[in-house]
Point group: C2
Chain length 212, copies 2
DNA sequence: CCATTTTTGTTAATTAAATCACATTTATAG
DNA sequence: CTATAAATGTGATTTAATTAACAAAAATGG
């Protein structure tokens, strides 16, 4: 991929999606170039942090000019592989999963939930947004024909470890969970959490502490 | 609150909700005490990080013994104010907002969405999980009678700045958004983002980079 | 074409977080 | 009661991230 891969700081990679999205918005609004100071204003990141981040991906800017937005989009898009569809599977089509499936990353045409699974016989067979809900045991077969790059899980906490074990068994290595249950996985498997409760608690805690 | 407030590292505070939840789970399962090493195994945090984190909140452990789970729950619960109901407002009751409202933090009895708002006349007046959806303009009045500690926004990106301006005008200072649109707010107002697309992109990127 | 201004890219400095290493404390077993 | 083992709490160190500072590069405007 990029010439110098391993040394890019984690935090710089974490910010890449934000940069990418913001630059796309700017391009959509007709902007052709941007300076680190302007971009910093928009996304509330120090210009110097932005410049350093960008520098990891090559010599992207010009002194006294700034950055060519289309060029940045091109480079960052390549890293994020936005030109290949990234097929995802959704496990657990309850209230939350349903919302995700109906939306199905419509603003991000390369991300796509291509199959969905649940344990409840009442929802299996139902079709939402062109995706028919299957029993989880079908996943292994699906993977034979369609590439699944990652899984989004909205199963309850108590089912999560069991689900993950099966996913690992299927060869899935990237999992995003809305349930905060910590699970054990092999070292090559990545689990991320989107922990709503913690986010809210931290939000309130921060307010509490800072405005006293 | 805690005796020594301002100096607690951000990251230690960020982990507090995780500690709290995990300890509650352990207590529910009948455990009375825990060692930093055991806890570290469960939540995948270095024991030494845990001990340092805990130390910011007092002398909570005993050498050769570990930590008393009930005591930790007591201390952390106080900081997180779990014994007072934290009233929340939900703005935008679409697919995602609906899922949040139906669930309404049922696992966290002190967090509660007590009022919900939308712009769409078709959904205004509808009652979900005992909460009746109101026009957003009613928020200012609601705040007179019920304390709203924070807001969860699931309005689309294009509406977010406008909504935030109104929230700020109402005196709201804590906002959690599912739309990644960066907004400008006064310094005393905190906005957090729960950015699903970035999470997925980073998840896939991490896999890409680490298993090559 | 030159002087001035702007803005990058990066070295150096700073700040923050994580981890190491161990002295100290307490529990426990004999 | 003493010796041993276990586990904490924290200075010291290391690692990572951010920010400052500025030289070099490119643009712009006489
Ligand atoms: N909705 C929220 O507001 C919210 C907030 C915080 C966290 N969460 C987390 O997200 C999870 C899902 O939330 P929800 O509101 O959609 O709950 P839900 O109960 O509506 O949906 C859960 C779905 O998972 C399915 N499921 C259960 N076990 C399964 C298994 N072994 N394999 C496959 N599918 C299985 C169920 O049949 C159900 O359809 C919650 O349990 C919670 O951990 C949700
Ligand atoms: N659902 C997903 O999978 C998903 C994924 C990533 C991000 N998001 C973000 O979350 C947002 C909501 O997702 P959704 O699926 O619930 O969309 P949705 O369209 O179903 O719901 C949006 C709701 O917001 C309401 N609304 C619009 N403008 C408003 C205003 N000014 N004041 C009050 N209410 C207003 C709409 O009437 C609607 O009910 C998305 O726009 C997106 O930014 C959603």
């Amino acid at each position: 991929m990029t010439p110098h891969n391993k040394k890019i700081p984690r935090m710089s990679l974490e910010r890449l999606p934000i940069y990418y999205r913001t630059l796309c918005n700017l391009a959509d609004n007709g902007y052709l170039r941007i300076k680190s100071a302007q971009l910093g204003k928009i996304i509330q990141i120090e210009p110097t942090t932005i410049r350093r981040d960008f520098s990891y991906f090559g010599d992207l800017g010009k002194s006294g000019y700034g950055y060519d937005i289309a060029h940045l989009i091109q480079i960052f898009g390549e890293i994020l592989e936005v030109n290949e569809t990234q097929g995802l599977a959704l496990i657990g089509v309850g209230n939350l999963g349903r919302a995700l499936l109906i939306n199905n990353f419509r603003r991000n045409p390369n991300l796509e939930i291509i199959s969905a699974y649940d344990a409840d016989p009442h929802v299996i067979g139902e079709t939402i947004n062109k995706v028919t809900i299957q029993p989880l045991s079908d996943l292994k077969a699906t993977i034979q024909t369609q590439q699944i790059k990652g899984v989004i899980s909205t199963v309850p906490s108590h089912a999560f470890q069991e689900v993950v074990d099966y996913l690992v068994d299927c060869g899935i290595t990237s999992i995003l969970s809305f349930a905060p249950e910590p699970v054990h996985v092999p070292k090559n498997v990545h689990v991320r959490y989107l922990d709503l409760t913690s986010e809210v608690q931290n939000l309130l805690l921060l307010a509490e502490i800072s405005d006293v």
